[in-house]
Amino acid sequence: MLKSNLFPKIILGIGLCFLYLPILIIIFYSFNAANFTSIWGGFSTRWYYELFQDTYLWQAAWTSLKIAFTSATLATFLGTLASLALTRFSPFKGQRLFSSLTIAPLVMPEIIIGLSLLLLFVSLNICIGWPSKRGFWTICIGHTTLSMAYVVAIVRVRLSHFDKTIEEAALDLGAKPLRVLTFITLPIISPALFAGWLLAFMLSFDDVVISSFTSGAGSTTLPMVIFSRIRTGISPEINAFATLFIATITLIILLLAWVKLRKQPV
């Protein structure tokens, strides 16, 4: 009896270790005084201090945030429009093709997307003179291409499960189609829109492959910086950065949970 009670707990423990031990190790070593990531040299906040001096890293982080915000917003906007076309319009010619095209980036290797975007931007520059140099907007377009597919996947399912009589009721009460969309449909599916936006944000924020192909001088994103530094040996500074990052996300999640808990009893 005892054995059979213990076994699931051990499995659970192994599973949790597998998931969270690496994160704990990063946090642990971020307080390491030594110059190397893997050797413990005593407690210190030295790397945090150095991190705050590292303007290059912070600049990259700021660029990444801006790109993630812009591309997530673009992807949510375009993805919602595409989902509406797929679920609300009467069947149109090429609907199946359009449906497959919107989710194609999900199954396409990122490296292919990145490469083809690079070729596109280069030939566009030759033909119409834009983009003369790659940077913020080319990365945004690249990320939007990928993350829009995820937004469509989420929003489309929500829309097809949507009780259409609610929209009909609004039309029946005298609201024109655009007002129905703004005041009825979008507010009701807003959790799906938010989930799609968040996913698009995270996809963009930690993307390396597409960013590498579509970025130019002066527009390096955070994951690109981290990636290039790792090649020259992992700096404990990155550990400190990761710890701060984890702390921020944990804080946001706790805040959201707290807001949700407060809303419930009303």
Binding site: A169, L173, A175
Partner: protein, 386 residues
């Protein structure tokens, strides 16, 4: 309390009884040869209807008969394949639903889940751009009418089914439309609540004087609530009439069988006199005699229909020539207020006769396998030619 002091009551319109009998009154809603096909499959076929102001009109039929499609055509959610639709003399055939003076109460209620009861009802008025004060007054006016003022701040998911139904009704009333469409309004309520709501709905309809068109598959509901009803089958309108006309004078075996229960006898006309038609049925040992109201000649085949409550059942042998049979009680259905006896005739056909249980302890106890006589008056039988 303030709100109740100055009720801005809508004027109670003059109700003309049976306006369809009065040729001076114009019908309010006119459907002319309205048809709707879905990819070539007909859902509503060549539908022509006149509905008058202030009527409580029911569309009744089995599921898939096209009654809901007809309602959606009236609301403007579907475009007719052919035919025309007029409301208040105006051609509404191609007017989109948001410009029609019509509001619908949905079977699922279709309340907006992200809005409170008050916001749900105010939604339609906001589309008209009315001042905020007036919107509030009118919202509470209809909430008082359906007795839901207490719940104005609640969200729909925190209301019971019956309360949601009231909100849905209030939402369709608040714009004071010319016509309200009700799609199976009572389908989601339990039996007891449904009976209460039926009468309440009719009372509200009489109070506001708006024309109601209701879709239902429940024949009892349609009979008790409607001024007139249309029976539909496979997209066609089979019969239009008052509940009484439909019940006592069905024009086809389908209608006779759909509304209530009925005994049908197929036979051939053997003789016609000035008053009576004689019919010989192969399943019956005696001839049938029915008042002359048919143009079918001698030798023509007809169906004679008799309602179970019109049958008399007894143990004394009738003395007259026509319209009676001998049989054995095969089954008894006890309903409390009445009993239905299934009597098996020698030919093998079973007829149903119902009897009110007027006394608590019946003097003449009829029981299983008893030999009985069923008989009926000639004027209580109906000749059906289709």
């Amino acid at each position: 309390m303030d709100r109740q002091k100055k009720p801005t009551k809508p004027k109670r319109p003059k109700i003309t009884l049976e306006p369809w009998q009065n040729s001076k009154i114009e019908p309010y809603i006119v459907l002319k040869n309205l048809s709707k096909n879905y990819d070539g499959v007909p859902a509503v076929q060549d539908c022509t209807l006149d509905i008058y102001e202030g009527e409580f009109y029911s569309l009744l039929g089995a599921s898939g008969c096209g009654k809901s499609t007809l309602l959606r055509l009236l609301a403007g959610f579907e475009k007719p394949s052919s035919g025309k639709l007029f409301i208040g003399g105006q051609d509404m055939t191609h007017v989109p639903s948001y410009n029609r003076p019509v509001n619908m109460m949905f079977q699922s209620y279709a309340l907006f889940p992200h809005m409170s009861v008050e916001q749900n009802i105010a939604f339609g008025l906001k589309q008209e751009g009315l001042p905020r004060e007036e919107i509030k007054n009118r919202v509470y006016e209809v909430l008082d009418l359906v007795q839901m003022s207490r719940f104005s701040k609640r969200h729909p998911n925190r209301l019971s089914g019956g309360q949601q139904q009231r909100v849905a009704l209030a939402r369709s009333l608040v714009k004071r439309p010319k016509l309200i469409l009700l799609d199976e309004p009572m389908a989601a309520l339990d039996q007891k609540l449904r009976e209460e709501t039926q009468f309440e709905l009719v009372n509200i309809q009489e109070k506001v004087g708006i024309t109601f068109i209701m879709v239902t598959h429940d024949q009892e509901e349609a009979m008790t609530m409607s001024s007139r009803l249309a029976i539909m089958e496979e997209g066609w309108i089979q019969q239009i009439g008052t509940p009484h006309e439909i019940y006592e004078f069905p024009n086809s075996a389908y209608v006779a069988d759909f509304i209530g229960s009925i005994n049908l006898f197929e036979g051939v006309i053997t003789g016609v006199t000035k008053e009576m038609v004689n019919i010989k049925c192969p399943m019956l040992s005696h001839t049938l005699s029915v008042p002359t109201n048919t143009t079918v000649p001698i030798g023509g085949s007809v169906t004679v229909a008799v309602r179970p409550e019109k049958l008399e059942i007894g143990i004394d042998k009738p003395t007259y020539k026509h319209n009676w049979e001998e049989g054995i009680i095969e089954d008894i259905g006890y309903y409390g207020d009445m009993s239905i006896y299934h009597v098996k005739l020698p030919s093998g056909q079973t007829v149903m006769a119902s009897l009110l249980n007027l006394d608590r302890i019946s003097i003449q106890q009829l029981t299983w396998n008893q030999s009985v006589y069923v008989s009926w008056q000639p004027e209580n039988s109906i000749i059906l030619t289709t």
